[in-house]
Amino acid sequence: MLLDLRRRLTKISKIELGISALTISLTGFMVWRVSQLGLMKALTDQNAHLNFSKQLFDSLTPGISQLGFWPPLLHILMSPFVLFDSLYKSGLAGFFTLLPFLILGAVFLYRTCLILTKSKLSGFLSALLFLLNPYVLYYGVTPMMEVLFMANLFGVAYFMALWLQREKLSSLLLSGIFITLASLSRFEGLILIPLVGLIILIHFVKQRKSYSEVEASLILFGLLAAVGLSFILIYSWIFGGSPTIFASGGWWLKGSAEEIYPTKHNLFKTLEYLLYASFYMLGKPLVITSLISFLFLMFVSKNKFLTLSTLAILFSPFLFVWLANFTGSVSMFVPELPPFGFFHNDRHTLSWIGFVVMAPTALIGLALQKFGDLKNKKVINIVNFLSLIPVIFFTVTLGALNLHQFYSVVFLEKFEVIKLNINVPTQDHFEVARYLEQNYDFGKILLSRANNDPILAEANLPLSAYIYEGNYRFYQQVLDRPWLFSRWVIMENPSDQVKLTKPIAEKWANSDTFNHYYTLVLENKKERLYKIKEDHIEQLAREKNYDLSQIPSFNSQITSWDPQKINFGVRD
């Protein structure tokens, strides 16, 4: 086994070690910069991911039910790190989880480029362009799913390219495994199943393989590739009641600001939004350069099917996001377009960075390869040598453009795109969190999770103290008669202008019964915080013949109960 490990390790080239070292250095720098700017948990989603992970262990109902309906891989992988309170609080759990994937992603890009062009220089350049993207680094050091997905996507591209080149069964199976990992990282991975299946089919048809071999290969590949999708469907079915509930985000998205869909059912408008967002995420010059490079590449590439298939895989997230926005499954905002002034889900366009860096670098690689061929044939002359100049110029320009974007975003704009995101937690959330941190005594806190994740992350209370949608039977029971179970209630302020679906507010905001049992202890623009009126609970217990010691909102000793059996001490 040790020998095998040694053999594998010696296969790692010096360039790959260099890429790994560069990744570690750049992410180290980025952790410092992002912490300095206070953006480690700048987005609600970052807080949500940390909470999803932590709730696997720390929840009223710990376990797999807490994974939620988002792709679960990040939550599972991050769970050992969030057990350390310091990593959970700081958000560094995300960095430690994602660092190996960032390295893996960069190495996969390098190797894929190497397969397409046989040029180490262009391979290194593709990894470099990827790593110098400020948003790749930002989402690589904060608890977000983008880098995890990209690494797995690049894994699919690499192993598919390898399989198309050598037809080794292991490469085919590994591409299937990486599709599953990609699907469990972000839903964009789901488009890879039909896409890669089609590539395999076309390849076999070209090779004139027998029907049974094609069938067998597709079964072997498909079974592995579909594991992720199967998990998502089964999980949704078991915990959400419908296999497709994941598509609408399940209970988490029920309460979030997702009602404006400016691009719904408009293909060109969707493309416009996506291009704008891509310009922000990837840099306008690089996007345009890559699209032009792609056209050239298709013209000069010797193995067009291999090149096209690899680039199609890397381009697939763009197609998925386009489709998702077109159908209205998700929405995207950019400041220049309606509803103006905000960013929302702009980061979804980051995922096609593989295509954006691969197209120009592969073109450079092919140019260098051609030069190398001439050199080998000893026909090198001044004209051939001069033809290298545009290639060098192109390479330097690409590097310079990327560096410029890096400098602008990190130092000049200081991640303005992140700060202008609609999902940035407000001071109102932090005010509630601080109040709870200072005044919480005991008992459960009822809230709806969406948009309130920053409160959970900041209040310094055990997550098992909260009752939210993910506690299923508990939540339904508490929502019906909160005063018997929940000592505290966080309710969205009904006067808030941002359109939210507000399950707690909708039910109790204007209720006299609710106000009879709860005192409003804090109110701001976004939230209201209520605490139980103990004397009114005592009165209720007397009237209904309840045993006070059996009422969770009253007795500090009750940390959990059986929703089916609890009867507050009433004798039958």
């Binding site: 095998d4 710990p62 376990g63 797999i64 069964l169 027998s210 049974s212 071999e213 069938e215 067998a216 290969s217 079964i219 072997l220 079974l223 592995l224 594991v227």
Partner: protein, 523 residues
């Protein structure tokens, strides 16, 4: 130093208290006696299945039961864990260990190639340098495959004067004897009529024939087997190159794998076993339960280990373990033997019940003195490997049924009673092993047939769970038989698929069985 002394005294105390854990004498188990024509048992009775339940086995069973009960009592009283939950946890852990063990073996198999010889090496062998090679073919009520047997053996590429072919026949099996005569085999084929003594099993026939064998090397072929013509030469080369190898096994394939769904799944199972599991066991130097098809031996090794146990209905499995206990290596050669897969449900069940019965017998025999077995196998890891490979296989088949019933019960009734057996972590472990384990093993079957180029079989492997259900049924039948009919040899009936002339021609075309120069001139 002090701890070493304490450890030694503790060991001694355990051995003195529990006699059945270790073999009392320093020598004895390895003693063989070939002078026994009452039942042709040449090995020590302690290594034979002649007594299904010895007093040591009974003591061990009682001891183990008490130990488990004690652990359950401890978990209930000290850890406040209800007994059934503790049992459920134990079983889930067993499943996990079993799954991990198989996966580890498979992972090691990828870096293990069968012993391979180039064509040039094989053809460079001079006839005069080749040793005498004995081929043993025990037949019982197999008249329908006789022509095929003769044909396949005649096709073997080995000098006739160096071939010592012994076909054993039961004296009351007139039909097979007639078929042999009718087939008019070459002169170097010897028919050995077995003496009418019990037990009437294949290993007893082999032991009788072994006394007649004159080869330096020896191979056992089943009646319907079609070995690669150059298999003997490859085996000889391997024995010559690796002196520590005591036994060689080629890979097994089925010539009727496409016949029906049962044969397809049978083939898939064997593809996994021979290509993915067995090489892994070999690489890890674990004891290997041989399957008796085309096993090649050094005669000297068989003499030392006392040949086969006539009372064990899976003599191959038993001899594989015994070889390991006596310090001999088993390996795989890059050659294929093709045989017929049981194609009818009843035939398959009978065959598989016999195999499972043999696994139970082998477990009972070798676990008679567990500490002695551990020492001979080479430590606790190998001991655990034996436990998982032989008794573990039986246990897992039985447990599968229990869990399937539990699952069906829960799905149909949603009973809280069932749910209560699986609290948090145990539920996760059970679901993980159930879902992931089943997926992985189905998938490994798929890879097994794919690697053999049997692409058309791949889709059928998805039905493997149903095949495992049959396996569980066969195991229960075996458990019944081990108690009530321990030595009954349930003969696998063959369909005689290739007995017609057309079929034989087809067989030759499909599997390249061609008579070579080794065919006797007098034929």
């Amino acid at each position: 130093m002090g701890s070493k002394i304490i450890k030694r005294y503790l060991k001694l105390a355990v051995k003195k208290t529990f006699h059945f854990l270790d073999y009392p004498g320093r020598v004895g188990l390895e003693k063989v006696n070939f002078d026994n024509s009452r039942d042709y048992l040449f090995i020590s009775r302690d290594l034979s299945a002649k007594r299904t339940l010895s007093k040591e086995t009974i003591s061990l069973i009682i001891f183990s039961t008490l130990l488990i009960l004690g652990l359950l009592f401890f978990s209930k009283e000290v850890l406040s864990l209800p007994v059934l939950i503790a049992v459920s946890g134990l079983l889930a852990t067993f499943y996990l260990v079993f799954m991990v063990f198989k996966l580890v073996a498979v992972s090691f198999s990828f870096s293990r190639q069968p012993i391979y010889f180039r064509r040039k090496e094989i053809s460079s062998l001079e006839d005069k340098d080749l040793p005498v090679y004995t081929i043993l073919i025990p037949l019982l009520r197999e008249s329908e495959v006789m022509p095929q047997t003769i044909e396949a053996l005649a096709a073997i590429d080995y000098p006739v004067d160096k071939l010592d072919i012994i076909i054993t026949l039961e004296e009351d099996d007139i039909e097979t004897i007639n078929a042999f005569i009718k087939a008019n085999p070459p002169k170097h084929f010897k028919a050995l009529i077995l003496p009418n003594v019990s037990p009437k099993t294949k290993p007893k026939a082999l032991n009788v024939a072994f006394l007649q064998a004159r080869g330096e090397f020896l191979v056992v072929y089943d009646a319907e087997i079609i070995p690669d013509p150059d298999q003997l030469k490859k085996a000889y080369l391997a024995f010559r190159r690796y002196p520590k190898i005591g036994c060689l096994q080629p890979r097994l394939d089925h010539y009727n794998s496409e016949q029906n769904i049962l044969t397809r799944l049978f083939n898939a199972e064997f593809s996994f076993y021979y290509d993915l599991f067995l090489p892994g066991l070999q690489k890890l130097n674990f004891p290997i339960p041989l399957s008796g098809h085309s096993t090649h031996f050094r005669r000297s090794v068989l003499e030392k280990i006392g040949a086969w146990d006539p009372y064990n209905v899976t003599e191959d499995c038993d001899i594989g373990i015994r070889l390991h206990r006596f310090g001999y290596k088993v390996d795989v050669i890059d050659s294929v033997s093709k045989e017929e897969a049981a194609s009818h449900f009843t035939a398959w069940i009978r065959q598989r019940s016999r195999w499972m019965k043999g696994f139970i017998q082998t477990s009972l025999v070798h676990l008679r003195y567990p500490l002695h077995l551990k020492k001979e196998l080479g430590g606790w890891i190998n001991f655990l490997a034996f436990c998982l490979t032989v008794p573990g296989t039986v246990l897992i088949n039985v447990l599968n049924v229990f869990y399937w019933f539990l699952l069906i019960g829960w799905v149909t009734t949603q009973s809280n009673l069932i749910q209560d057996f699986f609290p948090g972590p145990i539920l996760y472990l059970s679901v993980f092993t159930f879902v992931v384990g089943n997926f992985i093993f189905v998938y490994l079957n798929l890879i097994g047939v794919f690697k053999r180029g049997r692409f058309a079989l791949v889709k059928y492997c998805l039905l493997s769970p149903f095949y495992w259900l049959l396996l569980a049924f066969a195991t229960f039948r075996a458990l019944f038989q081990v108690v009530f009919r321990p030595f009954q040899w349930e003969k696998t009936t063959h369909e005689g698929l290739v007995t017609t002339k057309e079929s034989l021609i087809k067989l030759k075309e499909d599997y390249a069985v061609r008579p070579k120069k080794a065919v006797n001139q007098n034929f």
